[in-house]
Symmetry: C2
Subunit: 111 residues, 2 copies
DNA sequence: CAATCATATCGTATATCGACGATAAACAAT
DNA sequence: ATTGTTTATCGTCGATATACGATATGATTG
């Protein structure tokens, strides 16, 4: 089932880069890409990037979607690590996870 | 249904950039991201990037998937424009569409 | 023309997505 | 405690993704 042929990539372009098996690498990028594979999630990410933080309710207001739907998208973004949510009283304050964002950008840039 | 609030973005960072409505922008990135939202497709793209071109059969050999499944992934990559296929006798020679690739990288980098 | 090779498409099964309304859960305030 | 506010979760439904084997298509070769 698992590819035996899989070997460490010789993709040493300059500095650190990835000494990860091709398959793992692909899965990581696929996961992060998938987080952005829906327009609503892209817009949420952009919205969060335009502010330092954002209450969940504000996000819902900006989107032409039901609150429950937005909540689901946020859940996905949290699961992939792109977004963090911090409970603040009865609300939740969402913000971008910068390191995950950086990772995504690197993975794409190094494609 | 469609967001009326949508307005042209003032995202003039340097050169051309996008004078596209937020929604359209999000859809473009979502589409391209979706193309990479599966490990098999990421690996296909990486494989094609590591060579200047690649016969379909070679791709199938590298993947732990049935030929028909690989063909479907290639179809998706073609539809999103990331990959081009050129018929070469009885085979098909696939290669990366550099401009689409550049576009994806820009969209991500400008996130 | 027949046979072969490479690739695409079809048909099908299963799983997951994406949307919604309804409801639950957590907290604040009265 | 009750009420109201905010967010998450549940249940459901239709649509789509993903995988495969079987079959069709298209080109080359004998």
């Amino acid at each position: 089932m698992v590819r035996v042929k899989t070997v460490v990539q010789k993709c040493v372009t300059s500095s650190e880069k990835f000494a990860l098996p091709d398959v793992v690498w692909a899965e990581e990028l696929a996961k992060l890409s998938w987080a952005l594979a829906h327009p609503a999630r892209v817009r949420i990410v952009r919205l969060l990037l335009s502010r330092t933080s954002c209450m969940c309710g504000e996000i819902v207001e900006e989107m032409p979607l039901a609150q429950s739907t937005v909540s689901q998208h946020l859940k996905i973004l949290k699961e992939t690590g792109l977004v963090q949510g911090e409970i603040d009283g009865p609300r939740v304050c969402y913000c971008i996870n910068k390191s995950a964002m950086t990772k995504l950008k690197k993975l794409i840039a190094n494609l």
